[in-house]
């Protein structure tokens, strides 16, 4: 229902969106995920009609919208900073778009309380925006956008100005509203957790292009690149060297230990001796005492020494020195004294190897995470 066809946009010579192709289905909740500057907001603004693409087409409901301004497109935007009109009451804010659509008075009187109820603000129509909390203001913005019954609801980091609790509350509410109304939503965020919680599908963007498109589960469990593995969720990176590539997987050497991992990319031909980064999620490690019985064959094993432990509430994060690396292990219990020798077990399916592109040993985000954890 929305088709983006080789979209391109650059600002002052910097390519913000590069050959972007994306198809968004009717009734879908699609998250555009990526760090700042990846082109996700630019994409959203091109769909809304705030900026014009340099090249490429946007079709909404099969219609090329190139010639239409934002007022003519069947889209409604929810902004990061709410953009509630401060000189109008809550009800007048909602009425604002209805009037523009020349909705009849009776219909307006019907629809305003309806959308207010939908976002849980029933009875607050007479309030001024200044009297509302940030979360309430953003609900007004959602109600205002829904009131005009757009084909697509565009949301530009709508929750990022809110505190953590309100954010999670509104997140849940948004999903329910989307399910109840069947509205198509394109949701821009840089928060991977938010994207996982909300999106039917997630489009991970990098440098203006689509890096991976899929369900949250796909993207978390089978990241198509080291970039995605690193950006979505938390992961450990182990520097490795490729020993042998076969149909069953890759045999790699990590700090002298031979391991079997799953190739992360179905990429081109690989040669033995190539540098590889291996990603293992912290929850995919199992920590056992050094003197425990030999694990079952097929299970991958690394040896290390417990460095520190952090109690995080629902789980415990154990930091383990493995060679020169520090590895995070998430478990329910913990209880490992510092200095204890231990072994880390994981399945080869949970370890994904990526050919190292640049000279840097692992993507910087993970290193920063580790450095921060280590400094803790």
């Amino acid at each position: 229902m929305i088709e983006l066809d080789t979209l391109n946009k650059s600002f002052d010579g910097v390519q913000a969106v590069h050959d972007l192709n994306l198809e968004i289905h009717r009734g879908e909740f699609l998250c555009l995920l990526g760090p700042s500057g990846c082109g996700k907001s630019t994409t959203l603004r091109m769909i809304a009609g705030f900026i014009q693409p340099d090249r490429g087409r946007i079709r909404i409901d099969g219609v090329d919208v190139a010639g239409y301004g934002p007022d003519a497109r069947p889209t409604a935007m929810v902004f990061q900073d709410y953009a509630i009109f401060p000189h109008l009451t809550v009800a007048e804010n909602i009425e604002f778009g209805l009037k523009a659509q020349r909705t009849g008075k009776a219909e307006r009187a019907h629809r305003i309380p309806e959308v207010l109820d939908l976002v849980g603000l029933g009875g607050l129509g007479a309030r001024r925006p200044g009297e509302l909390s940030g979360g309430q203001q953003q609900r007004v913005a959602v109600a205002r956008a829904l009131a005009i019954r757009p084909s697509v609801l565009l949301m530009d980091e709508p929750l990022s100005n809110l505190d953590a609790k309100t954010r999670i509350q509104l997140r849940t509410q948004l999903r329910e509203i989307q399910r109840d109304t069947g509205t198509t939503i394109v949701y821009v965020t840089h928060d991977q957790e938010e994207a996982l919680a909300l999106g039917d599908r997630i489009a991970v963007m990098k440098d203006g292009s689509l890096e991976q498109l899929g369900s949250g589960r796909d993207i978390y469990q089978a990241p198509a690149s080291g970039y995605v593995a690193d950006f979505v969720g938390v992961t450990n990176w182990l520097a490795a060297e490729l020993v042998r590539a076969s149909d069953d997987g890759w045999d790699v050497a990590v700090a002298g230990v031979s391991l079997r991992v799953t190739p992360g990319t179905t990429a081109s031909a690989v040669t033995a001796g190539a540098a590889v980064d291996v990603s293992v999620r912290p929850e995919d490690f199992r920590l056992i005492p050094d003197d425990a019985a030999e694990p079952a064959p097929g299970v991958q094993v690394l040896s290390g020494v417990v460095r520190d432990e952090q109690f995080l509430g629902p789980m415990v994060r154990t930091l383990v020195d493995v060679g020169d690396d520090v590895v995070m292990v998430h478990s329910g219990q913990g209880g490992w004294p510092a200095g204890t020798p231990a072994r880390l077990l994981f399945d080869s399916g949970a370890a994904r190897g990526y050919l190292r592109a640049g000279p840097s040993a692992r993507p910087p985000a993970a290193r920063a995470e580790l450095a921060a954890a280590a400094a803790h």
Binding site: P70, D71, T75, Y82, P86, F96
Partner: protein, 565 residues
Amino acid sequence: MPDTIKRSSDAPGSAARSAAVEPHWQRRSRRRTLTDRITVGTLALYVGGLLGLLVLVPTLYLLFVPNGADWSRLTESRFTEASINTATIGVASTLSATVIGFLFAYALSRPDVPGRGVLRVMALLPLISPPFVVGLAVLLLFGRRGLITHELFGQDVSLLGVGGLWLVQSLAFFPLATLTLLPTLKNIGSTLEWASRDLGWSWFQTFRRVTLPLAFPSILNALLLVAMFVITDFGNPLLIGGGYRVLSVEAYVQAVGRQDFGMAAVLCVVLFVPTLILFWIQRRVLRRRATVTVSGKTGSLPPMPLPAVVRRTLVTVLSGISVLMVLIYGSILLGSFTRAWGADWSLTLNHWETALLRADDIRNSALFATVAAVITTISTLVAAYVVHRTRVIGRSVMDGLAVLPAAIPGTMIGVSWLVTFNEPPIALTGTALILVLVMVVRAIPVGYRTAVTTINQISPSIDEAATDLGASRARVIGRIMFPLLGGAFTTSFVFGFLHAINTLSAVIFLTSPGIGLGAPTIVNLAEFGQWGAATGVAAGLMVVSFAGLALAKLIFGSKLRMYEL
């Protein structure tokens, strides 16, 4: 020393001993409290005395000058007419100046309007030159022997009178509105306008339903500010009002022409009442606006582009006004090189020689304005400190007196000073001091506002920290406040200088044959038809102003935060 500290922090057993020998820190604290009180007391006395003498005394004194007969003469047709004229031209010029000011501000807030650099200069010119220069120029261009009316079109009509005054005041005072409106128009933020477009409204409807309502408090504020300047304007009505008499000019005629100070005082009070009301409302509006912040920051959304039609219209209108402005300031320059405007158009350097001969006036203006700016800057910073950082009694009175001169018509200051300081106990008439001090009064409100803004930006925890570390009040002021106020210091100084050098209405009453000033000299020369000399002095005065501003910009660069268009 360590011994004392140790003892004072000793176990409870030594309490009896330390009661006998007062701990060192306690004694020091007592001494500190005393010196702090002396410091604050001295500063408060200075501020209170200065404001009392320069603002309160003359204003009150003026109220007692007229007798009952003077008051009853108000109903004479001459004076009722002047009142009605003041109100009429006041409303007309205020509206037109605010509309022009809005157009300039709107254009300056839109990155897709071309030539904003030029517009910025056009809006800046009237702010840093005396407002009556516009009147003088219109006289040259559209007067009876005007370059355009007479020479170009051979007409014997002139714009003298209410029409010309309207034009002149619109052009002279629109930058005040621009300056007031620009921050708001910039802050309304593209997001709200985009939201309106996104919800289905066209550009025009968005302008009407979002931009204008959000700018409304600022527009009101601009109207009030411009109105205060327009109805107290003195130079322009004097120069081109012709037979159209307004209160400020009438008060001048009564005081200087007829030596009737009672009547002059009455007219000043009549003019003071509306300005005071406008001023009071403006302060209220400002305060309320401070609590209503416009949400929807600019964010990273590009500003909404103007429709081509709107952009073309806006550019056309503003170009027209800009051309007029260029003509106006150009004619001043041209006039200063023309032998006899309207009769002999040959070029000459005579007027510049005269201006240099009359250099005394310009030099006095520059010198007195500099001294006045120094006094104003220091005094307003001290005043802001006393009012906002101490608990001295009478702070609110001082605050009121520091902003009040903004509401007092210049004519009223002139007349009140003339009658107050003419004879003992404080006889200052005919001295340079009275001119410097009256310039100080004119510059105090703007300097004070700058100082207060800056001092409120310095977190109280900074001087609390210094006090906590053992610094005295005097030390906090000298070592913490003054260095941190550096930027405000220079800004306030340049503002003060420009206000002082351009003031006309207050000083025209107080200059004496021995000590002239540039601004009154220009008007006097123009009144006698000595265009060349008048434009020569005007050009000279403007050169000094611009040079001063340029010099300050050169030295202080971005630290100088003023006229941010």
